[in-house]
């Protein structure tokens, strides 16, 4: 005869088991990795596109409607603007007005971290060895290092990881939680066009499981659970169309993949450079995964398909490394765990040593967690949240000092700018009426403008005619770039501003008409622009964002 106390006893026993596992050596290791993962995903905002998203969000809020065309450029202001991230932009604007950039940094960092936790939870569904679990997550975090940072793309990373978690959980355990994907996609399709990746993942899993069953691959999910994913996929696709752009949003996401200009000209769309130390961990993860699969020769169809697709995407464009990490990290963990089990199966099992008392282990865990978290908050989070757009941290990444000078110009200017700085310039100067040549919404810019911009950046013979024919008043570019180094020798252009990061030129025949103020000779002590001189000379120069 069961009593009322028995469920309570069961819950208590379960909680104790969970606690035992958490404070075991393996649990400590995993917990430490989970907290340490906060470090690389938290930083100041380095994404050059953030700034135009923020400004666009401010304009949406002010006007109470989406913008039909872009208000930032003097080149493509007639192009129709598909505001596919309008909800993110509004969110940024509202939060920034309420609390500055700090909360945005916090929220985007947490979103990224949640994605990493989803990866861990998905891997944990197969109960791997805890050390392997922690090691795999650590490898995934390091492999994704080139991409981490507060940026809208992390929403897609997080939601992709969450989608894969829910799908895997459904295939392993069943249940109705899979239908949580529907409201997820409703929100996702209004936050970022990367929702198409999520749809793609679900479709890949369905096709892979159906094909894997026919090919006799191991560990297939039950066909009823696989079939149950089809209506979920359809529902997610349908709700994705509930956005201001309607069904067209589905096609928009493919534009970037099919745009030759974007693939060729935008750095993030380039293939990874394995000479870059930041990218090497991704290469190590990829090659080690191939080696593990080869040794084990036991791979589920859906794992194989996800690894193949995301590896191909990541090799094509470095920005897709995050998707590879989301999809392939649990596969890496599973394969490493398989190898470990096979080796342990052959080895003589050693009796585990006696563990310290539970209370001591809980105290150790708490001390470790608090110490790591405190180090993160003090050393990483707070400095990142406190940095403001005019601070030295941002001045080293974006043309803070140059925009401060440009803001003193007597009239609005058409600025030929560096591609990665168009967003920041738009954020800082568009309210004055200043316009830029190009900014980071490449689909809006169009291939024709991108090619024209690239011809100028590469200093092809047509560089000057492109600049002038667009109606440019001033060229603002990074110091030390080929364009800047050529314009310094040109007798038709005059240097009107220079700081360690940026240099500006105007046409000689327009100089008097523009009546620009002189460039500041010095800055007050403590001003970020005076520190920029010192910091840059110590660092040996600046890098383009």
């Amino acid at each position: 005869m069961t009593t009322m106390a028995e469920p309570v006893v069961r819950v208590h026993a379960r909680s104790r088991r969970w606690l035992e596992e958490l404070v075991s050596p393996g649990g400590l290791f995993v917990s430490a990795i989970v907290i340490l993962a906060l470090f690389p995903v938290t930083s100041i905002i380095r994404d050059p596109d953030f700034w135009w998203h923020l400004r666009a969000g401010q304009l949406i809020v002010d006007h109470g409607a989406l913008l039909g065309t872009d208000p930032f450029t003097y080149t493509v202001s007639s192009h129709a603007w598909t505001m596919h991230e309008w909800l993110s932009e509004v969110f940024f604007a509202v939060v920034q007005r309420a609390g500055g950039l700090g909360p945005i940094v916090l929220i985007l960092s947490v979103v990224t971290w949640i994605g990493i936790v989803c990866i861990l939870l998905r891997a944990a569904l197969r109960a791997p060895n805890r050390f392997v679990l922690g090691l795999g997550v650590l490898l995934g975090v390091i492999a994704g290092y080139p991409i981490w940072g507060p940026r809208v793309q992390m929403v897609t990373f997080c939601f992709s990881a969450l989608t894969l978690l829910l799908v895997e959980r459904h295939l392993v355990r069943g249940g109705r939680a899979i239908w949580l994907l529907v409201p997820l996609f409703l929100v996702w399709s209004n936050l970022h066009s990367g929702f198409i990746i999520g749809l793609g993942f679900i479709a890949v899993v369905i096709v892979a499981e159906l094909a894997g069953r026919r090919l006799g691959m191991p560990d297939n999910a039950s066909s009823s659970r696989v079939r149950a994913l089809i209506p979920v996929l359809v529902a997610c696709a349908v709700v994705s169309m509930i956005n201001p752009n309607g069904p067209g949003i589905l096609l928009y996401a493919f534009q970037t993949q099919t745009s030759a200009a974007q693939q060729a000209l935008i750095l993030e769309w380039h293939s990874p450079d394995f000479h870059d130390w930041n990218v090497l961990p991704f290469g190590i993860m990829l090659v080690s995964l191939v080696a593990l699969i080869t040794v084990n020769r036991r791979l589920r169809a859906r794992d194989a398909a996800l690894v193949l697709v995301t590896a191909a995407l990541a090799l094509q464009s470095v920005r897709h490394i995050a998707l590879f990490v989301a999809a392939a990290t649990p596969v890496w963990i599973n394969q490493a765990d398989l190898l470990l089990r096979r080796r342990r199966g052959r080895a003589v099992q050693r009796r585990p040593g006696a563990m310290p008392p539970l209370r001591l282990r809980v105290l150790t865990f708490a001390a470790l967690a608090v110490t790591l978290f405190a180090a993160f908050v003090a050393g990483r989070l707070v400095p990142a949240m406190r940095a403001q757009p005019g601070s030295l941290a941002y001045a080293q990444e974006f043309p803070v000092c140059a925009t401060r000078w440009l803001a003193t110009a007597p009239r609005p200017l058409n600025i030929f700018n560096q591609y990665g700085e168009g967003g920041f310039l738009s954020y800082q100067l568009s309210s004055r009426g200043d316009k830029v040549f190009v900014f980071g919404d490449a689909a809006l810019m169009g291939d024709a403008l991108l090619y024209r911009y690239a011809a100028v950046e590469a200093v092809q013979p047509s560089w000057e005619s492109i600049i002038r024919s667009a109606g440019t008043d001033i060229v603002l570019f990074d110091t030390g770039t080929p364009l800047a180094n050529v314009m310094a020798h040109s007798t038709r252009w005059v240097n009107v501003y220079h700081d360690p990061l940026s240099v500006a030129f105007v046409p000689v025949d327009k100089q008097s008409a523009l009546n620009l103020p002189p460039a500041p000779a010095s800055y007050p002590p403590g001003d970020p622009c005076s520190q920029l001189k010192v910091a840059s000379s110590v660092n040996g120069g600046t890098q383009n964002p």
Binding site: H270, H275, V287, Q460, G480, H489
Partner: protein, 518 residues
């Protein structure tokens, strides 16, 4: 009691001969088709300075110092490809560019065939799979073969793989071919290092291919040692290894030479490599798993390719026997049992006739593709379109002894056109030049802060540059003028002003009239 098929000895021998003929037909057909990919005009920009060196060595011996550039090279000249260069000069002297293209194309095909024959004999891999391996890898490496020293190394690697396969079958005698191979290889191309690395991997990792075969590691170890010593028999001696180390470890090289950069997976040829790598892994998994030596070799080649796209050809070559072996195995394990195709026996005579007809058709098709490339007019047209021939003719007529700037990709061609007088800025023999000279070149090519100063300090007053290049636009801003336009190759001859210009009043305008043609 199970039924046994008793086959008369004569019929058995006929079946074996028929199987061999079929295998040969497939391999020959694939080799012929691959010839259409490997016979290339002088597409590799380095061929010219190798040719110039070959001609120089033939008349004056191996130079002690870099002979073509006015930049001071950091290291003494290492004639690490002297034998290849002399042979190249001999081929061009005997039959022009066409003969060199034909011979090097054939060498690449031989490399693929030899690699295919490195499959274990006991595996009984059919001709179809050997052909698939040859064709697929031929396609993958098509962009990086042609008239270049690397093809020699591909042949060397294929030979090493073949020897290792025979050694694993218990035929130890083959290993004694290695020292002679490396003696020649080390004088033709620095890629012999890869051959030594493969042997070093095989020593601990390779297992016998047949269960009853005992593998003798000592002879291979001895052959490896002798091969190592044989590589020292070259004009530079042990300094050859320093040269190789400098090439691999100089980070500036990846800034100058595209081939040393990571692959661009937007490129359809690189995507073919990607597809082949994926296919190989799939075949490993469904074919019962790779042998550990094969796995380590292929994964190492994959990692090397991710570092430098020039290693695509190495991966493709290593993949040839593995695709054939594991593809054949996977077919037998997974696909063949599901097929219920009726096999109708073809009469041996009819099979032979079909084989001959197929080979003839393939050969004819390949000939129609390859032969037009080998005419002297085709070679000349290729040279004029790919290299600044007319611009160089103009320079030869007007400022033959003056220093010239050009991009490194054309530097080799100018070294060939102007082998005397040290007028060339730089070409892609990067290990000899060293970092200082490379950075000097990059200062101009990448238009760094002191680009104009470098030109004046090196007394460079003339340039052959691309008509759409950043150098053309930049030089114009400091008063350089256009002497002529070589429209065929898209190049300009430009000259510095004799006095500092007062003003450059308009942007660069590339002339298009016949009067301004080189």
């Amino acid at each position: 009691m199970s039924a046994m098929r008793v086959v008369p000895t004569g019929e058995l021998e006929r079946e074996r001969r028929a199987a061999r003929r079929t295998r040969f037909t497939w391999i020959a057909g694939a080799a012929l088709l691959t010839l259409a990919l490997t016979v290339q005009p002088f597409r590799d920009t380095d061929v010219w300075w190798h040719l110039a060196l070959g001609q120089l060595i033939t008349t004056h011996g191996i130079p002690a110092h870099e002979p073509f550039s006015f930049l001071p090279a950091a290291y003494p000249w290492v004639g690490q490809q002297w034998l290849y260069e002399v042979l190249l000069a001999g081929l061009v002297g005997a039959g022009g560019a066409a003969l060199a293209s034909a011979v090097m194309g054939a060498v690449a095909v031989v490399a693929l065939v030899v690699a295919a024959l490195a499959v274990p004999r006991t595996a009984r891999v059919g001709g179809v799979w050997l052909a698939i391996g040859i064709l697929l890898s031929g396609l993958v490496m098509a962009q990086v073969v042609g008239v270049r020293g690397q093809v020699i190394s591909l042949a060397g690697v294929a030979a090493v793989l073949f020897v290792i396969a025979r050694w694993r079958e218990g035929r130890t005698g083959f290993v004694w071919l290695l020292p002679a191979l490396f003696l020649v290889w080390a004088n033709m191309h620095a890629g012999f290092i890869v051959g030594l690395a493969i042997l070093a991997l095989a020593l601990p990792l390779a297992r016998a291919l047949a269960p009853a075969t005992a593998i003798a590691r000592k002879p291979l170890a001895a052959a490896l040692g002798l091969s190592l010593l044989a590589t020292l028999i070259n004009p530079a001696g042990i300094a050859l290894y320093g040269y190789v180390a400098e090439t691999f470890m100089n980070p500036t090289i990846t800034q100058v030479v595209t081939e040393w950069m990571s692959p661009d997976f937007h490129n359809v040829w690189v995507q073919l490599f990607e597809a082949e790598a994926i296919l190989l892994v799939v075949l490993w998994v469904i074919g019962g798993g790779p042998d550990r030596f094969d796995a380590v070799l292929a994964v190492a080649a994959l990692a090397a390719t991710l570092q430098a796209q020039r290693n695509i050809s190495l991966f493709a070559l290593i993949a040839v026997p593995q695709i054939a072996l594991y593809g054949s195995r996977a077919w037998r394990l997974r696909i063949a049992p599901r097929l219920r195709a009726r096999r109708t026996a073809t009469a041996p005579r009819a099979a032979s006739l079909i084989a001959v007809a197929a080979i003839t058709a393939v050969a004819a098709a390949v000939a129609t593709t390859v032969v037009p490339r080998l005419t002297s007019s085709a070679s000349a047209a290729f040279e004029s379109s790919r290299y600044p021939k007319a611009a160089a003719d103009y320079v030869a007529a007007h400022f033959a002894r003056d220093r010239l700037y050009t991009a490194d990709s054309w530097g080799g061609y100018l070294a060939f056109r102007f082998p005397e007088g040290r007028v060339v800025f730089l070409y892609d023999e990067t290990a000899i030049f060293g970092s200082a000279a490379l950075q000097r070149y990059l200062d101009v090519h990448l238009l760094r802060k002191d680009w104009a100063t470098v030109l004046s300090s090196e007394s460079v007053h003339h340039a052959i540059v691309g008509d759409n290049s950043q150098e053309a636009a930049a030089f114009h801003e400091i008063g350089w003028t256009i002497d002529c336009h070589d429209a065929t190759s898209g190049s300009l001859v430009m000259t510095a002003p004799t006095m500092a210009p007062s003003k450059v009043s308009s942007p660069l305008a590339v002339p298009t009239t016949a009067a301004t043609a080189c």
